[in-house]
Amino acid sequence: MPPLIDVRDLKKTYQLGEVTVNALAGVTVSIERGSYVAIMGPSGSGKSTFMNLLGCLDRPTSGHYLLDSIPVEGLDRDHLAEIRNQKIGFIFQNFNLLPRMSALENVELPLLYQDHDTPDADDLAEHALMLVGLAGREHNFPAQLSGGQQQRVAIARAMINKPEIILADEPTGALDSRTSAEIMNIFERLNRTQGITMVLVTHSDEIATHADRIIGFRDGLVVSDAPVVRSRRTSEKVAVLRVPVEVPQ
């Protein structure tokens, strides 16, 4: 079976006045189905650009990107929107819930943009909220929920369309450590039990160790790529390990 994500020599350049910025200078990565990948790197390393390209929010300047064997680098806006709707779930640092909608309606939002009707949308959304531990909070508005609860609504929203992959950009960046641990638990469960491929961007070594594999970015290039070594084989991880973040080019 081909990898879920197959990226070859992906480049993205921006023109800022006279200066050409190489945000991505040729990245080749493949990510298997069901894997759990953390992406790390300093600001301006190109990891956000990479995530935008992975999420089909942007198109590369050059290179190839096969998502679930579909070459997406040449697709137009509306086709990309369709791919995002069907295959990708997004988690943002600032949750990005719509403030005027209840938790349930926020979770149902991706169903709205499907080509077909979903008559049991309410049931699906309630189930998704239950999975993230928010049963009974369906009719709360985002302002009535804590940060961790809001992020869990966002997770429920990301998984409602049964995506192949969830892309999380600093998902715990706005949360305290205890809440972060809860969120990471949910991610792990989604990955282990639902088989959803997870890719998350983080600054935190501690968060990154929840993943199976850590990819390091710097100056628009992948500078490290290594599996996480665990102290025990159990899924209950107390991760103490050497993370090869700094790899000489």
Partner: protein, 411 residues
């Protein structure tokens, strides 16, 4: 369908979030639609009134009046000549196949006395055909007959205003009134006709047999004892009016022994033409008023565009998120268009109600006739929707083509 319903729900929620802002935006459309409705109502009310007046004068009427004559090179004014005669009136229906009836008419003014009341009014000396042509009828009593005309009986048919002023509430039929000291028996009272288009009270009139009127009240023209002021003709149908006019002209020229080089010594006028012109000018006025009113509709539309642009800017993050989770260009476009159209149509409905109320108020206060037709209402709904789509499109398009990454990052 589901999407449209959802879009309407989203739009409704977005609009109720900013109630004051939505209300103020709608106000532009409300004023625009209300003024269009009110002006159209005034315009069609005026047209309606003119049509009623045409109907009140009688249908298919042609008026013949003596023309200007030239005596020793001096042209005298229209109506001064004594060229038209009772004999002309008699011959017109007999010889012109398209003329149904012709009634001679002499006109004068006189003081009328009954008991200690007196009243100045207009006296028409006519034949019974006059009542038929003018579609006059008596509400009380009887019309006078051809016999009354031939015998020059001293009988009078009174208009409602005259009766009110002479008799107050008392019964007028059978009473004797004095016109220029000549006693007349009141035999009938006319059904009221109201004001004419010139604002003249059509009920302030006394009808006498033409023969009696000439001999006893108005006086006989010294030059031509047979002369009349006007001949009123009725064509057999509306379509036959032009033919009747031509036939009458030919006949009168022949009867008056006019040479081909000589001009007509009479004028034939067709009232329909007169009123058609008046109607046309009133509808032009109505269209102009409506055009001015639609300018405010456009201004309202610009208000919508303004608010929608602000709304798109404020909701950039929301748009970015919707795009990220799979909203296509069309979805975002529809969402914002629905919002703009909802604003404009809601404003349109309020405007219709307000416009109808305003036209009712105008007809009450100013006494102008107004008429709000279903056409005007439909037009208003149509135009307010059009304004919503027209002025909502640009902001909606702007929203639909936002870059998702930048939109998501927007603060």
């Amino acid at each position: 369908m589901k999407k449209l319903k959802q879009s309407m729900r989203i739009a409704f929620r977005a609009l109720t979030m900013n109630k004051l802002r939505s209300a103020l935006t709608m106000l532009g459309i409300v004023i625009g639609v209300a003024s269009v409705i009110a002006t159209v109502a005034i315009g069609s009310g005026a047209t309606q009134r003119i049509q009623d007046q045409i109907a009140s004068i009688g249908s298919n009427i042609i008026m013949v009046t003596p023309g200007s004559t030239t005596t020793s090179g001096v042209r005298l004014g229209t109506g001064n000549a004594v060229t038209l005669s009772e004999a002309d009136a008699k011959e017109l229906p007999a010889q012109c196949p398209d003329v149904a009836l012709a009634a001679p008419l002499v006109r004068g003014a006189a003081q009328v006395v009954y008991g200690n009341n007196n009243w100045a009014t207009i006296i028409y000396g006519v034949t019974p055909d006059y009542l038929t042509i003018r579609e006059l009828s008596v509400a009380d009593g009887a019309e006078f007959t051809q016999q009354d005309v031939e015998s020059a009986n001293k009988v009078a048919v009174l208009g409602k205003t005259v009766v009110d002023n002479l008799f107050g509430g008392a019964d007028a039929i059978g009473q004797i009134i004095r016109i220029k000291n000549v006693p007349f028996a009141v035999i009938g009272i006319l059904t009221p006709k109201g004001q004419s288009s010139q604002g003249q009270d059509q009920d302030d009139v006394i009808l006498l047999p033409i023969s009696t009127a000439k001999r006893k009240v108005i006086g006989i023209n010294a030059a031509n004892a047979d002369a009349v002021n006007t001949i009123m003709m009725q064509a057999k149908s509306g379509a036959q009016i032009p033919a009747a006019q031509e036939e009458a002209q030919a006949l009168l020229r022949q009867r008056h022994h006019l040479q081909t080089v000589e001009a007509d010594d009479f004028t034939i006028r067709n009232l329909q033409e007169l009123f058609a012109a008046q109607e046309a000018s009133s509808s032009i006025m109505a269209i102009m008023l409506a055009a001015v009113a639609s300018v405010s509709l456009v201004v309202g539309g610009i208000g919508i565009m303004n608010i929608m642009l602000i709304s798109v800017r404020e909701r950039t993050r929301e748009i970015g998120l919707r795009q990220a989770i799979g909203a296509k260009t069309r979805d975002i476009l529809t969402q914002f268009l629905v919002e703009a159209v909802t604003l404009s149509i809601a404003g349109g409905f309020v405007g219709i109600v307000l416009g109808i109320a305003a036209s009712a108020l105008i007809s009450r206060l100013a006494g102008w006739a107004t008429a709000v037709g279903p056409g005007a209402v439909l037009l208003a709904v149509f135009f307010s929707a059009l304004v919503g789509i027209g002025f909502g499109y640009y902001p909606a398009r702007k929203a639909a083509y936002l870059d998702p990454i930048e939109a998501l990052r927007y603060e």
